[in-house]
Amino acid sequence: MTDITSEKAGPGRSRSTTELVRQGLARRNRKQKLLQGFGIAAILFALSMLLVLVGSLLSTGYPAFTQTHLRLEVFVDPDKVDPDKLKRGKYEEMLAASLGAYFPDVDMSSRTASREVTQLLSSGAEFNLRDRVMADASLIGKTITIKVPASDNFDQLNKGLIKRDTPEENRRLDDAEIARFDTLDAAGVISTPLNTTLITSADSRFPELAGLKGALVGSFWALLVCFVVSFPLGIGAAIYLEEFAPKNRLSDIIEININNLAAVPSVVFGLLALAVFLNWFGMPRSAPIVGGLTLALMTLPTIIIATRAALKAVPPSIREAALGVGASKQQVVFHHVLPLAMPGILTGTIIGLAQALGETAPLLLIGMNAFITSAPTTPFDSATALPTQIFIWADSPERGFVSRTSAAILVLLTFLIMMNATAIYLRSKFERKW
């Protein structure tokens, strides 16, 4: 009898359990769906924001990737250039004479009339001609074809950024100027090739002559200094703290302070660098060496934290195995733990460097936002960096800098993406399973 009742109670109880589970199931599934929905919505939102950002940068930045040029036939007048003093030639007048040929009704001997025509050209045009002649003095007395950049306003007109239907009094170019441009355009002089100046020259007051070379080279030197200083220091500090330091109050304090340092606003590091490197050590202002040292101060905590995490992730069994065969602690670290931690360390380092590449505030304080028209050749020369160059250009009133600022941001983002891609590649390449 008792057997039968227990048999009945058994399935009965289990049925009610199933029942209870089924009742709650719909609610549980709904909650899970809701959570998934939130996740997908968040990702879509982030993606759309990214698209908006990149889209707006591309739409404002793309005109900067081309530049309006004029192709002129220039007679290199022997009367206007002394073969012994090629640098001092009157190249501007040669260009004016060449340009004047398209405007027979303009009296090129009159200064004001001539100026109205030559303002089509960038003020850098004469230097293009000068460089050509200086490279090859045999050109004197010949007629050569040369491509020179148009000045910013006409560049903007050509790209449609200065609208022809704007009332004349609100336009930067009057009708006569536009007419002169159209005359040249009709003559087939105007072309819009790729703007190589953006990469090959340094900063300039004139947008059509301004480029990122100084900033790229400056950023390169600064990052190199930053890497050379922060990588060995960071790894050394992390190895000591993680593997050798006794666990006591002092090492706890050091650890807390390293974590705090990682959270210190970057401008504070700039002030520190200004006080210590520039004022106390008397290092050169605006130099990538100082920029690199400042960025190294900032990157150091990132590298230490990433390295410690990577060292901690190496399974203790590997350490025990090495200790067990009689390796000293130093051998355990350098033969086994460090190689296994390397992918994580490299990833952390590259991410730290990518952060440093985009850092602006500390560089402003040590003067890397100066107006410098030549690219640095050593880390001790004055230079700008990519983010500070963007800062300078964003602050400039010329129309041409609007698109160039966006273009420079795109260049910076390209470098950041490349660095992060390298980090991912290194991580997957050196990752080992155990």
């Binding site: 666990k247 350490r319 025990e320 195995a321 200790l323 065969v325 000293s328 033969h335 155990w434």
Partner: protein, 265 residues
């Protein structure tokens, strides 16, 4: 039964290799090992058994000073190998661990080739004079680890690609590569299947010819199968130590009897 008696006679003629006196171990505030005295015989297998947390692994790790790597761990008392105090100031743990090899619970080959796994110990201690010398050491060690035939054609493949049992035998080969006198094994079969376990046990029995083997095990059957001497630990104390068949057939202490018959553990 005859076999066991033969082994016992064998053991009795052996000298004591490791002798521990008044060993105390503290982990912070925890008193993990309480006043343990033990003499471990040369060229024999000694098993440490006892319930989880009884201190048998802790005591094993005192013998090669592996506990030194744990900051909060303090070891008191004397442990001598061949009459020499291993906790003496003049003894470097590195030197000691070349003499006292260790095999761990989970197979832990380095993520390197099979060859490099075995060659690592001899390399850091400078035991091989030439490449040929090293090749010989690696082959001899792998043969002692009873794994040579399985890996001789793929010495340069990663050691982590082997099966669990093969990995553990590779670890044994790695441990014997430095030609130690003592081999410590911390539950070497607990992560292995029965077939791999049987292979390792067979190997342990042959290792006894050259080495003094100390094995920590959870399995009483294993202790009975491989060891000549057994020590039973309970709550940090050495409760009973004696010939294995004595301990299993005729334990003197009631706690030992309870553990063996499955009442505590």
């Amino acid at each position: 039964m005859d076999d066991l008696e033969a082994i016992n006679r064998d053991v009795d003629t052996n000298a004591s290799k490791i002798s521990a006196r008044h060993v105390q171990v503290h982990y912070g505030d925890t008193h993990a090992i309480k006043d343990v005295d033990v003499d471990i015989m040369e060229r024999s297998v000694t098993a440490f058994i006892g319930p989880s947390g009884c201190g048998k692994s802790t005591f094993l790790r005192c013998i090669n000073r592996m506990n030194d790597t744990i900051d909060i761990c303090r070891v008191e008392g004397d442990i001598c190998i061949d009459g020499e105090d291993i906790y003496d100031r003049n003894i470097d743990p590195v030197q000691l661990r070349a003499r006292v090899g260790m095999v761990f619970q989970k197979p832990n080959p380095f993520p390197k080739s099979i060859y490099d796994n075995v060659a690592y110990g001899p390399k850091i201690h400078g035991l091989a004079r030439s490449r040929a010398d090293m090749d010989e050491i690696v082959e001899r060690s792998l043969r002692r680890g009873a794994i040579w035939d399985e890996v001789k054609d793929r010495l340069h493949e990663p050691g982590t690609g082997l099966s669990g049992g093969q990995q553990q035998r590779l670890c044994i080969a790695r441990a014997v590569a430095t030609d130690p006198e003592v081999l410590l094994m911390d539950e070497p079969c607990s992560a292995l299947d029965p077939i791999a376990t049987a292979q390792i046990e067979e190997l342990i029995d042959t290792l006894r010819e050259k080495y003094t083997v100390v094995i920590v095990t959870h399995s009483m059957q294993q202790a009975a199968r491989v060891s000549q001497k057994t020590a039973f630990f309970h709550l940090g104390s050495l409760v009973e130590y004696g010939d294995t068949d004595e301990i299993f057939t005729n334990p003197k202490d009631s706690r030992t009897e309870s553990y063996i018959s499955g009442r505590i553990g």
